[in-house]
Symmetry: none
Subunit: 219 residues, 4 copies
DNA sequence: TATGAATGAGATTTCATTCAT
DNA sequence: TATGAATGAAATCTCATTCAT
């Protein structure tokens, strides 16, 4: 009862850490069980704090879900920003972007899964989030630059559209995570192992590179 | 109690019709709200019968969900079977298959959405369904035939793999429905309108055709 | 396990009885503790059914509260309807109405108290209830008839207004219940005992009769 | 720590002002939502200080509520004391008192509403407050004096009782505020507007004056 | 085969109050 | 005297499922 050191470090007030802790656990929980399937009790139990704190910081289950969504988008865009594609030749830059996307999404399956969840909810929560829309529109800028340089250099077809291209890249990368279970089960194919990923990554990259190639010629 | 004719007296006791009614409503409900989000009460209210019947026919919410999943897969494969691709030149057949897939998925968004739901549940229910696995493995046969003919004819690269190809086709078509809300919101792009669909359909088709083209040459 | 009588009568499905039971207990509970002070758990415990049934029938605490309010108003108006004041001379009829009001309100203190509660809520729930407004507007008809007859007969002042009069009657009767605790405590006066009620009842009646008397003359 | 002047440095540490601020906000809050309906968080947010201070000064929600009640009663009696009715003829004094009561209550609706709240709680808090009982018993003295003078002068009936009379005055004035919402909604009558108040004030005054008039004669 | 009432277990959310600084 | 973070207990409400007829 006497002579104890100050106080247990773990119980110290550290709001930022508390928020972060909740967000991390919640991403996992929502990615695993969806919005309605996630249980606040479960979530709180995995946290260093209590159920009560979730409401203190995020107001409601839906508020927490939106915060998770915003945080997840913010993180992928932050990572993307480190790529520095502007100094590479356009086709190399494009290939690098595709590979980054494929790797990031396969390494961050929880992110992919909450995006799936949000689509099940018809984008209802994202629609109300100014920050997500802002972040992502910016994301297209890098790809637009690559396309412009590629067209000028004559290594890309003139009619390529950055948003269409982004859609194709996303589709091919996303599917490997999103439909892993149904597709894998039906066709008895591993979609998560190291080798399978490496192989698929190159097919996806090649698919994109061939698509942007100028008429009549393929890499 | 005796001597009643077989034919259903308009609104009375037609078990098959009742089952069908419940399945249709349930597909919509699960596609809209997911497995945990769907409400048996809501679902029953939209039905011509009562909540009790759902349990009578399907045993539980999960039983109903699995039945919906099986029914949805059965229907797409049945439709696919009417395509008769064997008599067309391989590239024409491939293009036809891609377009069919794109159109079918965009016309049957509830099907796509329950597949998303099933993936959120990590394929837990599909894994226990012999019938779904059987149905779908057969689906690859047509594509395998196309690839074999294409390679022999020299119009497709020799290393093309039917399952990889199916994965790419699925990915590109699926995304247009599955990620419609987040992608559409973020990039302010319509992904469901008639024109947008027509345009995207051709990009997807071209992407696939270019991918299978023999080295050095593109359609 | 065998030879037992049918089933305990008390558990038989009787929705109307269940509703009634809940309403009766809820009136007491809301009258005692107000809307926010009332506890669904407490309330359910005093009921023959369960907490779950309250939500089954009334949807929410607020839904139940409104139902209680409507039921309470319906009952006083139904009782009032049995008075048959039309066949009495106007001043006798008025005196009878005042005495009835005083007695009814002092016998149904829970009714008075939920009206107080509703006023604390600024009439928010009553405002949305068509049925309450309808019921009560009708209540003024009897008083209007009395006034008309009284004026014609020359036993009431010509400028008496039925709604003003109703307000005065209500005010004098209501207060004896509504402010019983503060007034009684402060002035050390019993306001609920048999004698106190009888005495106050006559003061209230006389106050009203004197108010309606023609100029210059009092009963 | 030393040599600081007494005067509060504009925005710093002024206990009396802090108390006053909390009491004012709390009166409004309790009047609006009742005791159980009031939220300490809400209340604190409207205050210039923090939630902690509420507990520091008043100990608990109930302690604050009682303080509010005492403060409100203290204020009305203080105002009443300024009337100086002893020098007017008894009927004039009575009319002045009625009009003052009517005006004060209609101008201080929050006071009326906490009295309603206290009655919902069956006078539990007032019963424990010596100060409120003391204050109010004094209030009857003025009215008693008026009655005595009126009887002696022959302008009031001999059997008039000051407490009964106070009850009637209170009832008629109180109702206009307390039942404003239900009565107003049901009979579609404004009870808060300038004209409505002026009209009602005279009806109430006349009602009281007629009641005290000697047998057989009315003002 | 069919129905509407009923239910237990557990979900989300709220709130007065206290702690650490 | 002051603050913002934290909390346990309890409140309201939900939901898949079953019962009585």
């Amino acid at each position: 009862m006497t002579g104890r050191a100050k106080a247990p470090r773990s119980r110290k007030n550290d709001p930022e850490r508390t928020r972060r802790d909740i967000l991390d656990v919640a991403l996992r929980e929502f990615a695993t069980n969806g919005l309605s399937g996630a249980r606040i009790d479960e979530l709180a139990a995995r946290t260093r704090t209590s159920k009560r704190m979730i409401y203190y910081y995020f107001g409601s289950k839906e508020g927490l879900y939106l915060a998770v969504l915003e945080d997840a988008y913010r993180r992928i865009r932050a990572d993307e920003g480190t790529l520095d594609l502007g100094h590479q030749p356009p086709l190399d830059a494009l290939a690098a972007l595709v590979r980054f996307t494929f790797d990031y999404e396969n390494a961050n399956t929880d992110f992919i899964r909450v995006v799936m969840v949000e689509n099940i909810h018809r984008g209802k929560y994202i629609a109300g989030s100014e920050s997500i829309r802002r972040l992502n529109s910016a994301a297209i800028a890098a790809l637009r630059d690559i396309c412009e340089r590629g067209i000028v250099a004559g290594v890309m077809r003139a009619d390529v559209d950055p948003i269409d291209l982004h859609m194709s890249i996303s589709a091919l990368c996303f599917f490997n995570v999103s439909n892993r279970y149904t597709f894998g089960t039906i066709f008895g194919r591993d979609m998560a192992g190291r080798e399978a990923l490496a192989r698929r990554r190159e097919i996806v990259t090649e698919t994109i590179l061939r698509y942007v190639a100028p008429e009549g010629w393929c890499a």
